[in-house]
């Protein structure tokens, strides 16, 4: 247990090294102040940032949601200001100044006109708000799929994401690569969302609102990032012990980057004879029962496809950075990073782990 904790702390330190703590503290302090003012928050959050801010939309559906939310904020804000002002006024103005408790104020039992007014005005507000909302619901949800859209099947697993590109024969995990979609060259990505086990929810706040992945109930969602970059998200429906570490990374690539990435992913795994010992361990131990490495005997579908493991920045659905040190700790005992995850510790000798990690790090 002690060792496990230690390894976990190491991983934290490694993550921290990438993002020096002081700017992040400044950021979160700022975000509190800026949340009060949506447009300012948006301006602040634009550009490369690791905050999955719902007020920093980066695709068409989230832009529409953002504009709708500003409208709803304005309406509810106006109601808040007027009613809160009324409450404050009443509390101050009618604070008791009775010298004689027997003097009761004049009793008023009601007034039809006034009551009608504060029934009819809210009805009108609700009608306006409803019509605006319904328009956006239909606009986002019933968006027809253009012929050139990229199709990706997202499969939720306890506790990782599987991404399949049926038109390209590519399977990857936890890090979704999609093309940027510009005005000149629109190429939205349409996601088909299914679950392999329990309910999950796919949520990348800057790219699309969340949609649940429910067994026996396929869902759809779409996104079209306007700027290249990395967008963060995570599972938003409690799915078990490691729900917290079911993170999503979406890379919006330029067309050329995306084509290059696809080309690499379509290849079979690198076959480097210098790490054959590690490959032998992979194929003779239970690893191959759960994982696929294209071009080898490993065809398992329970865990993530590892054919191009080293093309991914993180391990275990974002639980740790994908460095050889972390990979070693992970293979030795997955509970180091994700206690309760479904990958078992294989109880390999140190030498076997070294050989296996050498093999895995060759999978570019």
């Amino acid at each position: 247990m002690c060792g496990a904790l230690h390894a976990q702390k190491c991983s934290t330190a490694i993550v921290n090294m990438q993002h020096s703590p002081s700017p992040s503290r400044i950021r979160s302090g700022l975000s509190l102040a800026l949340c009060l003012c949506a447009p300012a928050l948006r301006a602040f959050a634009e550009g490369p940032d690791s905050i999955p801010n719902t007020f920093a939309p980066a695709s068409t559906p989230t832009h529409e949601i953002y504009n709708l939310s500003l409208f709803a904020l304005t309406v509810t804000g106006a109601i808040f200001v007027s009613v809160a002002a009324l409450l404050t006024y009443v509390c101050i103005r009618y604070h008791s100044r009775r010298s004689n408790p027997a003097n009761e104020p004049p009793q008023v039992y009601g007034s039809l006109q006034v009551e009608l007014a504060w029934t009819v005005i809210p009805i009108l507000i609700v009608v306006v708000l409803f019509l605006t909302t319904a328009r956006i619901i239909f606009a986002i949800q019933d968006q027809p799929e253009p012929a050139n859209a990229l199709n990706v099947t997202v499969i939720g697993h306890q506790f990782w994401w599987e991404f399949r590109y049926p038109s390209y024969g590519v399977v990857t995990a936890n890090e979704l690569h999609i093309p940027v979609s510009t005005h000149q060259q629109p190429e939205p990505t349409f996601l088909r969302l299914i679950s392999a086990d329990v309910d999950h929810s796919f949520w990348v706040p800057q790219l699309a609102g969340k949609t649940d992945l429910i067994p026996n109930h396929p869902n759809e969602s779409w996104m079209d990032p306007h700027e290249p970059g990395l967008y963060l998200g995570q599972c938003a429906q409690f799915c078990g012990v490691q729900h917290a570490k079911m993170l999503i990374r979406v890379y919006a690539d330029t067309p050329s980057d995306f084509a290059a990435w696809l080309k690499n992913q379509q290849q079979s795994a690198v076959n480097d004879p210098s790490v054959a010992a590690g490959r032998h361990i992979f194929e003779s131990q239970a690893c191959m029962v759960c994982h696929t490495i294209k071009g080898t005997r490993a065809l398992g579908t329970v865990g993530p496809d590892l054919t191009h493991l080293m093309s991914r920045a993180t391990l275990a659905a974002g639980a740790a950075l994908n460095t050889p040190t972390n990979l070693r700790a992970w293979v030795q005992n997955p509970a180091n990073f994700k206690p309760g995850c479904l990958m078992p510790a294989m109880h390999l000798s140190n030498e076997q782990v070294d050989q296996l990690v050498a093999y895995l790090t060759s999978l570019r």
Binding site: L32, S69, Y109, E115, T119, G209, G240
Partner: protein
């Protein structure tokens, strides 16, 4: 006890019989069928679990104080948030409000007891044992070695995570059985309140002369009958799935997890109103008395309450905007949800109009009700934001949602419950709670409340989802979470002041007399605490404020009421 219906001459001053030995005293409480004693039992039971659920919340907040924290294991964290939610809804919210109802409904309508006193006792003990059964899972799940396995799937318990293949232990069984058992108790109480209200009103008390408190509890009870049923049905289906190989929710055998979601929220949304309407009921009594004015627009208040009751049955799928309903389906639940806003708007305006032109004294009950008005305004408006379906695709299951429903449950309901305590404690015990401590309680609690729950909105807007035992340090959530945790500690201090105030007042409080607040409803016409039979002679009323009529013989209400 309850069958002691013959008025004994001169007995008006008699309180409870002499205590006798400890065993006799205990026996008296266990076998009682007196609605007042059962009400106090409900409230004491709920207060105990309020502290338990509060400790669970504190542990959750300690774990989330900083990113990558290791105070609590992920398994333990999941148990804590599941038990926190289940406890606060089923073992605190409902029992405490039914406790107030039990104590007050019969006295307010001039009755001597509930319609079915024995059913009343049975209901309480079912609820009580339901709670014990739920908590026994901490020990009984894996046997008696410390952390057993308490339910760990969230209080919403979405299938198929609750199935045998994903939850192989006995934790889900404890959860399902405990809720079935306490659900039966709840239904019993609901039937009892309806029967009492319909058949035991005193002479002259027509439906439109009932205090609004009683009206709201009538609506709540009707709603309870409708909502507990689907929950119990769903629990039975879950147990059938787990033990008899049924496939209601078992996705691998072709079952439908969607079915659970529908059943749960057909229960779950009206449940919110089951909890919040009694809170409104308390505000309806407190605000007029401390503003020294009759409630403004009584018929509109009744209509709005009944309207909320009906509408709340048609809004459940606003918890399901992200499950992939059709756009027409989503739109329907947007409009039905916003309609609730119209009804609650009427209520808020009527409360403000009651205060308008009044002569407001900010005693502790009124302070809490004013806090309630302010926080309920915000809770209602964030509710409207969540009803905007596309925005909900962002806000759902984020900390914004957590902030919203804690604004309702803590900012509105718990605040009203505190108001109710300060208001009726003198009636139930004959002693006043301390005003000084009450004001400390109010200010400390409300400062902590706003630190925690205002901040939660922002961390949700920054993309933090619920139910996570830890989070990454680079997401802009660190400082905000630290503030939330500090706020939670401040609230805990507030609650401790309250508990101390209760205990101190029970033994040392100033004597209250029958009517310390110069109020107008019938419970203030009997001694404090009231004798077992409540009223020596059946009262007769001519208006909604019988004590006003007595106190102002030249200007009675019945001259103006239609």
């Amino acid at each position: 006890m309850s069958d002691q219906t013959i008025p004994v001459s001169g007995s008006l001053q008699a309180a409870y019989p002499e205590r006798g030995t400890l065993l006799e005293w205990l026996h008296g409480w266990i076998v009682t069928v007196d609605h007042k004693k059962l009400g106090i039992l409900y409230i004491t039971y709920a207060l105990f679990f309020l502290l338990v659920g509060g400790v669970e919340a504190m542990l959750i907040r300690i774990q989330l104080m900083v990113p990558h924290n290791h105070v609590i294991s992920p398994e333990m964290y999941d148990e804590l948030f599941t038990m926190h939610g289940t406890t606060m809804v089923f073992l605190v919210g409902m029992p405490i409000l039914f406790g107030f109802a039990n104590y007050l409904v019969p006295i307010m309508i001039g009755a001597r007891d509930m319609a079915f006193p024995r059913l009343n006792a049975f209901s309480f003990w079912l609820t009580a044992f339901g709670g014990l059964l739920l908590y026994y899972s901490f020990l009984g799940g894996f046997g008696l070695y410390g952390m057993g396995n308490a339910p760990d799937v969230g209080w919403f318990a979405y299938a198929p995570l609750t199935g045998k293949s994903f939850s192989p232990g006995h934790n889900m069984d404890y959860w399902a059985l405990a809720l079935i058992v306490s659900g039966f108790g709840t239904v019993g109480t609901a039937i009892n309140i309806i029967a009492t209200t319909v058949s035991l009103r005193c002479k002259g008390m027509t439906f439109f002369r009932m205090p609004l408190f009683v009206w709201l509890l009538l609506v709540v009870s009707a709603l309870t009958l409708v909502t507990i049923t689907p929950l119990t049905a769903a629990q039975v289906m879950l147990l059938l799935d787990r033990y008899l190989g049924a496939h209601f929710f078992d996705a691998q055998a072709g079952g439908s997890p969607m079915l659970w979601i529908h059943f749960f929220w057909i229960f779950g949304h009206p449940e919110v109103y089951v909890l919040v309407l009694p809170a409104f009921a308390i505000a309806n009594e407190v605000i007029p008395v401390f503003s020294r004015k009759a409630i403004f627009g009584y018929p509109a208040m009744v209509a709005a309450s009944v309207g909320i009751g009906f509408t709340s049955l048609a809004v459940w799928a606003h918890h399901m905007f992200t499950v992939g309903m059709s756009s027409a389906g989503n739109s329907f639940f947007v409009i039905s949800t916003m309609v609730v806003g119209i009804f609650t708007g009427i209520k808020v305006f009527n409360w403000l109009a009651t205060m308008w032109g009044g002569s407001i004294t900010f005693s502790t009950p009124m302070l809490f009700c004013t806090g309630f008005l302010f926080q309920f305004l915000i809770a209602g408006l964030t509710g409207i934001m969540l009803a905007v379906a596309p925005w909900d695709w962002q806000l759902h299951n984020s900390y914004f949602l957590i902030a919203h429903f804690h604004y309702v449950l803590v900012g509105a309901i718990i605040m009203c419950i505190f108001a109710g305590f300060y208001y009726w404690f003198p009636k139930a015990t004959g002693r006043m709670m301390s005003e000084t401590l009450g004001k400390w309680h109010f200010w400390v609690f409300i400062i902590g409340f706003h630190m925690s729950f205002d901040t939660m909105h922002f961390v949700g807007l920054l993309g933090m989802p619920r139910s996570i035992y830890t989070y990454e340090p680079n997401r802009g959530w660190d400082t905000l979470n630290l503030i939330i945790t500090i706020g939670a500690f401040v609230q805990a201090v507030g609650v401790l002041i309250f508990v101390w105030n209760l205990v101190h007042a029970y033994f040392r409080g100033k004597l209250a007399g029958p009517d310390p607040w110069d109020a107008w409803t019938l419970e203030w016409a009997t001694p404090s605490p009231p004798p077992a039979y409540n009223f020596a002679v059946e009262p007769e009323v001519r208006s909604r404020r019988p004590l006003w009529d007595i106190k102002h013989p030249n200007d009675p209400d019945w001259k103006y009421e239609q």
